[in-house]
């Protein structure tokens, strides 16, 4: 395998693709690009599944995608290929196409990546870095790569030590990096349902009586549980309340309970449904499995600062680290 990649050559190949497409397309193609999406994944990861996820994201978030496949090992290796992703929107005659670049980089070549990526990002558009391998986040070269990005998406749920992962992400955020965490994104539906409970004026009026919040979770969802507890704590603080907060890991599944004198709200996942209990009344709603596609679809839609997440991450890291030291 080659150990060098020339960004100029990649850009020429991309331009040639468009010229070729223009010659052959019957009704023409429309080039669409709203961002550069850099995806970093292990080479061992199922390429076709990841390819399907990226292809599914493109119609809604057309992007120049740079897929970096990481090869563990000391041998220095770097190679590339370019191709297009096209689709025909329903009822339209023109194809829409996005550019894709695939790079293979060994650990030893990671230091060269920023100089390759920098000329390849599309000018004036956001750069989203989706880091799918936890080990990369711990490598010294990661910081340099992350600095190219407008936003870095990670998944603390894939890290072994949830409090440590949250602390590292909060620290990166403190240094000005805009981060996102899929462990937080998985909670959107839960948070939405909890918010919906308090659209009812009677329930909102009884919120002031809430004195205790308890979140239980399995080990796999520990970081999500810390987020849920932190977000609830912050929301209640905004309402002038400071209830006792408890996160209990090692349970079967994730569950949150807000309890007070006149109000008890419980959200729990029961198979494919999310059950919301308010006092004695339970409503169930279908809970779609949180696929990578759905999670990234949501994250790619948010390029500006997400102040609710930033505040929650800080709180979650503080709660998680202090519970660990207790």
């Amino acid at each position: 395998m080659s150990a060098t990649v020339a960004p100029e050559k990649i850009l020429k190949e991309l331009a040639a693709l468009w010229v070729e497409e223009g010659k052959h397309g019957s009704a023409g193609v429309l080039r669409a690009c709203s961002m550069t999406l850099v995806v970093m994944a292990e080479e061992s990861e199922d390429a076709s599944a990841l390819g399907e996820t990226l292809a599914a994201l493109m119609p809604e978030h057309p992007a120049r995608t740079i897929l970096v496949r990481l090869r563990a090992g000391a041998e220095r290796a770097l190679s590339e290929r370019v191709y297009q992703q096209c689709w025909m929107p329903f009822g339209q005659r023109r194809q829409i196409c996005c550019e894709q670049i695939e790079l293979i980089a060994s650990d030893a070549a990671l230091g060269d990546l920023p100089s390759v990526l920098l000329p390849l990002v599309v000018a004036d558009l956001p750069v989203i870095l989706w880091c799918r391998c936890p080990r990369l986040a711990a490598m010294p070269e990661f910081g340099e790569i992350a600095r190219l990005a407008t936003k870095v998406v990670m998944d603390s749920g894939a890290f072994g030590d949830a409090p440590a992962a949250l602390a590292r992400m909060a620290e990166a955020q403190g240094h000005g990096l805009r981060v996102a965490d899929l462990a937080w994104t998985r909670l959107t539906r839960w948070r939405e349902m909890l918010a919906r409970v308090f659209e009812n004026r009677d329930h909102l009026a009884r919120l002031s009586g809430v004195g205790e919040v308890k979140v239980t979770c399995g080990r796999r969802h520990e970081s999500s549980a810390w987020y849920l507890a932190a977000w609830t704590r912050n929301a209640l603080a905004d309402a002038g309340l400071s209830p006792a907060i408890a996160v209990v890991p090692n349970a079967e599944a994730i569950r949150i309970e807000l309890s007070g004198a006149e109000l008890r709200v419980v959200l729990r996942c029961d198979g494919g449904t999310l059950a919301v209990t308010v006092n004695d009344l339970t409503n169930q709603t279908h809970l779609e499995p949180a696929s990578d596609y759905l999670l990234m679809r949501e994250e790619l839609a948010i390029v500006r600062r997400d102040t609710v997440f930033e505040r929650t991450l800080s709180t979650a890291a503080r709660l998680a680290v202090s519970s660990k030291s207790e």
Binding site: P89, L194, E199, L204, G240, L281, T285
Partner: protein, 506 residues
């Protein structure tokens, strides 16, 4: 105790609709089947409705709840163009559908309705919130509002809102009278006058385009804009609604509401915030700034038209007077072309040309902003390249924005030709756009009246339209004056030609 829900996160999830019951008067009508129920079902499909949601349909046709559910299921299957019927979602949605039969003129019907709402509240936990939707003949609006009041449903444990469809009166006096009658039961803040044009994504996008970008607004005034053309064209005729249409006409049907609202959106001043009151205040101010015409001026600055028979695509098409149910001597306008001026510092002297009509060559709604030409012509230009700095905001059918400007033709010499830079809404966003009724129904349930028309806006529109209406009604026109499939009467072209302008051919 907090007044606002502290758990909201607008960046991640939209504000949820509160629990409520929607009462639809005219539930067996076309609008309910084609638009309202498909829109509500789509909101349920997108999980935008609360668990405590119900629809109570009412009309004169006797039906059980189950028969109503079956009928509405057929409507969703037939008219939900881009939403599959999901059995689980439909099952949950259909359990919240109820029906009562009755005549809106019968006081007993409102007692039955009140009892039904009580039952629904117990079964569906709708929180006492009720949205009344009047999808009936306009002549029944006041009767129904009074019935709601007499039945004790105008006030209750939760909020009560009333949605009314256009027309909001047929002139200034009747519009005022209608408002007064509705206000006997509902406060103005609880009256939602629906104009589905304002719910269209692309009409809302006009605000985003103008006020979200810094580069266009500095050009958006009399110094740079030569004139503005607003077109709302339909290719179809009256489609069996001749008897109704001959009483209304194009001016009242399209311009008094839809196109004047579009014009207000295009020309209004930036509002201080995107809150309902601010945006509606600015729209209202703009409408009040439109110069009303004197009777003499009406004849110079407006053109009514009526389509005659023609052969289109090998098919004979009847003229308006040959349509079923239409008086063979009808003086109804099926076309209206107006020149309007806005008396503000921003728009003084800039003509706004508005036209709408039936049986025009194609269905298209768009706004064309013609900018002034460059002060000196340095280059050779192709013959049709005059005045070609044009911004087109396309509302339907292919939503988007195009900017036309001049570019050098390839080759030696400096000859310029117009080129177009296009933004296509559908290609740039893979997401599905909600229908106007989805947007507007959800807004009404949430209590956001930004996209609804207020009483003062309705009256300001009538202040523009009524003088024209009066002259047209008292004048005998030589109808038909345009052939089906053409772009309208020659007099309309002449009206623009007097100002050195010409209608675009969209």
């Amino acid at each position: 105790m907090p007044n606002d829900n502290p758990f909201q996160d607008p960046l991640r999830f939209e504000r949820q609709a509160p629990e409520c019951a929607v009462v639809i008067f005219g539930a067996n009508g076309d609008l309910t089947k084609r638009k309202l129920i498909p829109a509500l079902y789509r909101l349920a499909y997108d999980r935008r409705l609360a668990a405590g949601f119900a629809v109570v349909g009412t009309s004169r046709t006797p039906m059980t709840d189950d028969q109503f559910r079956e009928k509405m299921r057929e409507a969703v299957e037939k008219f939900s163009e881009d939403t599959p019927l999901d059995e689980d979602v439909w099952g949950a949605f259909a359990r919240g559908l109820y029906y009562i039969a009755g005549d809106v003129k019968d006081p007993g019907m409102y007692q039955t309705l009140a009892a039904k709402l009580e039952q629904v509240e117990g079964e569906r936990h709708t929180g006492g919130n009720v949205l009344f939707y009047l999808s009936t003949q306009p002549s029944q609006y006041a009767i129904i509002a009074r019935g709601i009041g007499a039945g004790g449903m105008g006030k209750g444990g939760g909020w009560r809102r009333l949605v009314v469809e256009k027309p909001f009166g047929h002139d200034m006096a009747s519009a005022r009278e209608l408002s007064n009658q509705l206000h006997e039961v509902f406060d103005e803040s609880d009256v939602y006058r629906i104009d589905h044009y304002l719910g269209k994504e692309t009409v809302q996008n006009i605000l985003a385009f103008r006020f979200g970008n810094g580069i266009f607004e500095p050009l958006w005034n009399r110094r740079y804009v030569d004139h503005v053309q607003i077109t709302g064209a339909e290719s179809i005729g009256v489609e069996g609604r001749g008897a109704y249409y001959q009483e209304v006409g194009a001016l009242d049907d399209m311009i008094q509401n839809h196109l004047l609202q579009v014009m207000a959106t295009v020309a209004m001043e930036p509002s201080a915030s995107f809150r309902a009151t601010s945006v509606r205040d600015e729209r209202s101010k703009l409408l009040r700034s439109i110069r009303p015409w004197s009777p003499d001026e009406v004849l110079k600055n407006t053109v009514p038209g009526q389509y005659g028979p023609a052969r289109i695509g090998g098919e004979d098409v009847p003229g308006f007077r040959q349509e079923p149910g239409v008086d063979p001597a009808a003086q109804t306008d099926t076309y209206a072309g107006l020149t309007l001026y806005v008396d503000t510092w921003r728009w003084a002297g800039v003509p706004f040309y508005i036209r709408t009509g039936k049986r025009l060559p194609k269905r298209v709604t768009e706004i064309a902003i013609q900018f002034k030409s460059a002060p000196l012509h340095l280059f050779n230009r192709d013959a049709d390249a005059d005045g070609l700095n044009l911004l087109i905001l396309r509302i339907q059918p292919e939503e988007g924005i195009s900017l036309r400007f001049l570019s050098k033709r390839p080759g030696s010499g400096m000859t310029l030709r117009p080129v177009s830079m296009d933004f296509n809404y559908g290609s740039s966003f893979g997401e599905r756009s909600p229908s106007a009724y989805e947007t507007l129904l959800l807004d009404a349930i949430i209590g956001d009246p930004t996209l609804y028309t207020r009483q003062d806006m309705v009256e300001a529109s009538w202040a523009v339209v009524e003088p024209i209406q009066n002259v047209w009604r008292n004048h005998k026109f030589d109808f038909p004056n345009y052939a089906s499939g053409s772009w309208g009467p020659a007099a309309s072209d002449e009206m623009l030609a007097r100002n050195g302008h010409a209608w675009r051919r969209p």
